[in-house]
C-alpha cells in the first residue's frame, strides 16, 4: 500500500513539475465517416460528451462546457481517471484542443487535437492527433512507462474511440 502510494505521489509530482524525457512523441489517427461534418461534430464537438462515443470512457464531468479552461474528469471503464483541460474550441472550424493535467495514461505533457473536415460525397474525415512524452521522465525507463508504452496507449485510445465514433454516427 505504502509503496504504491509513494509511486503514485512520485507520478503526480512528476506531472506537476512537467519533467519529461528527451524525445517528444506523436500519434495521428483518422477515420472517414459516412455523414455530414455537422452530424459528426455534434458528437465530438462536445467536450463533455465522450461517454457517448468512446468505449473506454464510462463517465465525464466538465466544469465549464465548451469554454476554454473547462476541465473534464473522465472516469474510465477499466478504472482510473484522466483530467483534461480545454485549450481551444472552434465551433466553425470544428476543432478542439486539450491538455491532460493528470491521469492514468503512461504519458506526460500530453496535448491533443480533434478535428472534423468535410470530404467528397458528403462524408467527414475525423483526425485525432496527440503530442506527449513517455510516462517515465528520466533515462532508462521501465517497460511499462517507456516510449513504446506511451505510443501504444495513445494509439489505442484514438483507434478504439474513432472506430466506435464511426459506428455511433453512421447508425
Amino acid at each position: 500500500m505504502y509503496k504504491s502510494g509513494v509511486a503514485a505521489a512520485m507520478l503526480i509530482a512528476a506531472n506537476l513539475v512537467l519533467a519529461h524525457g528527451p524525445s517528444r512523441l506523436k500519434v495521428t489517427e483518422n477515420v472517414t465517416i459516412n455523414a455530414e461534418p455537422a452530424k459528426v461534430w455534434a458528437k465530438v464537438g462536445d467536450f463533455n460528451g465522450m461517454p457517448a462515443w468512446h468505449p473506454a470512457v464510462a463517465d465525464s464531468n466538465a466544469s465549464n462546457g465548451n469554454n476554454v479552461g473547462s476541465q473534464r474528469t473522465l472516469t474510465l471503464t477499466g478504472g482510473g481517471k484522466v483530467i483534461e483541460e480545454l485549450e481551444e474550441f472552434d465551433d466553425k472550424k470544428m476543432v478542439l484542443k486539450y491538455r491532460m493535467k493528470e491521469g492514468v495514461l503512461p504519458v506526460t505533457n500530453y496535448t491533443s487535437t480533434l478535428s472534423v473536415q468535410a470530404i467528397e460525397g458528403g462524408k467527414s474525415l475525423v483526425e485525432w492527433r496527440g503530442a506527449f512524452y513517455r510516462g517515465y521522465p528520466n533515462n532508462d525507463p521501465p517497460p511499462d512507462r517507456n516510449d513504446e508504452a506511451a505510443e501504444k496507449a495513445i494509439t489505442g485510445v484514438y483507434k478504439t474511440g474513432l472506430e466506435k465514433l464511426k459506428r455511433v454516427v453512421e447508425q
Binding site: A19, S23, T111, A131, N138
Partner: protein
C-alpha cells in the same frame, strides 16, 4: 550587381584584392567562407552599415553562397539539409539517436547536433554535409551553441544540470559548469561572448563567463524558460517561457528585466530579424507565430503556422519555421508573412537552435 561591386570597391575593398568591373558576381570576395568572415567581423565591430551592406551582398550572390538550414529530425535520427537558395532538401545526414539541438558555425564550416537518446554530439562538416566526428556528451545533451570564434561548443545536459564545454579542435569535453535544474536552451552573446543557459525547472537563466568558466549571475525569468535568443547587437536577451506563455526581455549589460511580452499558447523558440527589430516566436500549441516589435515590445501580428511549430531561424528576409507535428518547414516571407514554400523534412522535426548560422 555591377553597380554593387563598384560601391564596395569605393568603400570596402578588403586587403587590396582586385575588383573587376562589369562582372556579375563579386569575385574579390572569393568563396563563401571569406564573405561570411567579413560579415561576422563587421557585425562584431558593430559597424551596422557595413554589416547590412555585406549581408546584402551576401544575399545578392545567394546562388553561390547560400547557406543551408540544418533541421534535426528527432524521430528519424537524421538531419534534413535545406539549401535556402532552392528551398528544398539537398541532403539527409544520419546522426545519433533522437537529435534535437543544433548550432551552426559557418566560418569554421561546422554544424553541431545534440542527440539526447544516444547521449552524444554529431559534428557535421558543412562543406561535405556529412558527420566527421561523434563525441559522447553527458546524460541528456539538449541545447547547444557555438562560441563566436568557433573554438568551443557549449552544451546543456538536461539530466545532469551542467553546461559542458567542448573544445572543437580536440573534440573533447574540457569543462563541466554546474548550472540550474533541467538546462535547456543555450545562447552566446555575439559581442560580449557571455554564455546564457535557460534552467527550465528553476525558472532562471545562468550567465556564464567563458574565460572563468563559471556562473557569474543567475536571473529570474518566467515559468519554464526553454530557449534564449540574443540580438546581433549583443544588447538584449529574449527568453521564451513555455509555461507562462511569455517572453522575458533582459538587458545584456545590466542583466535586468526590461519587459515581458505575452505570446501564444506554449511558446518554444524565437528568432530575430537581421536588424533586431522583430522577434518571431513559435507558439507550439496554438500553431501560430507571434511577431513582436522589439522597440515597443508589443505583438504586432499573430500568424498561422503549421502543426506544433518549434525551431525557427531567420535568413535574410525569410523565416524558417520547423513544424514538429507536420514534419515540415514553412518558409515565411517576412515582408508580408505569406508562406512561400513548405519543405518536407524527416520525422518529428525540431530544429532547436540556430540552424542556419548566417543572417
Amino acid at each position: 550587381m555591377t553597380g554593387m561591386v563598384t560601391v564596395m570597391t569605393d568603400e570596402g575593398k578588403p586587403h587590396g584584392r582586385p575588383v573587376k568591373h562589369g562582372q556579375r558576381s563579386a569575385p574579390w570576395l572569393g568563396d563563401s567562407q571569406w564573405r561570411v568572415e567579413l560579415l561576422i567581423r563587421a557585425c562584431q565591430r558593430q559597424l551596422t552599415g557595413y554589416c547590412l551592406l555585406f549581408a546584402a551582398l551576401l544575399l545578392g550572390t545567394v546562388a553561390r553562397a547560400a547557406p543551408f538550414a540544418y533541421i534535426t529530425n528527432q524521430g528519424s535520427n537524421d538531419v534534413s539539409v535545406i539549401d535556402v537558395a532552392l528551398d528544398r532538401v539537398v541532403a539527409t545526414i544520419p546522426v545519433g539517436k533522437g537529435p534535437a539541438g543544433i548550432a551552426v558555425h559557418l566560418a569554421s564550416q561546422r554544424a553541431y547536433v545534440s542527440n539526447p537518446d544516444s547521449k552524444d554530439i554529431s559534428v557535421i562538416d558543412t562543406i561535405q554535409n556529412k558527420v566527421v566526428a561523434t563525441i559522447p556528451a553527458g546524460d541528456g545533451p539538449l541545447g547547444i551553441a557555438v562560441s563566436t570564434n568557433g573554438r568551443e561548443v557549449y552544451l546543456a545536459d538536461w539530466f545532469s544540470n551542467v553546461l559542458l564545454v567542448i573544445d572543437t579542435t580536440a573534440l573533447q569535453i574540457v569543462a563541466r559548469i554546474p548550472v540550474g535544474s533541467a538546462p535547456a536552451g543555450v545562447a552566446v552573446n555575439p559581442v560580449g561572448h557571455e554564455i546564457y543557459v535557460a534552467n527550465r525547472d528553476d525558472n532562471t537563466v545562468s550567465v556564464i563567463d567563458p574565460k572563468e568558466r563559471k556562473v557569474a549571475r543567475v536571473i529570474a525569468v518566467g515559468d519554464r524558460p526553454f530557449s534564449i535568443s540574443v540580438g546581433r547587437d549583443g544588447r538584449r536577451l529574449y527568453v521564451v517561457n513555455v509555461r507562462s506563455n511569455d517572453v522575458s526581455v533582459l538587458d545584456a549589460d545590466t542583466h535586468r528585466l526590461v519587459g515581458k511580452v505575452a505570446v501564444g499558447n506554449t511558446p518554444y523558440c524565437a528568432a530575430l530579424s537581421i536588424d533586431d527589430r522583430q522577434l518571431l516566436v513559435t507558439n507550439q500549441h496554438a500553431d501560430t507565430l507571434s511577431v513582436i516589435d522589439t522597440g515597443s515590445l508589443k505583438v504586432m501580428q499573430t500568424i498561422a503556422a503549421g502543426g506544433y511549430p518549434e525551431g525557427i531561424a531567420v535568413h535574410g528576409e525569410r523565416a524558417y519555421v520547423v513544424n514538429w507535428m507536420d514534419d515540415n518547414v514553412s518558409v515565411f516571407d517576412m515582408a508580408n508573412y505569406q508562406i512561400r514554400a513548405t519543405i518536407a523534412t524527416g520525422k518529428n522535426s525540431r530544429g532547436f537552435g540556430n540552424f542556419i548560422g548566417a543572417p
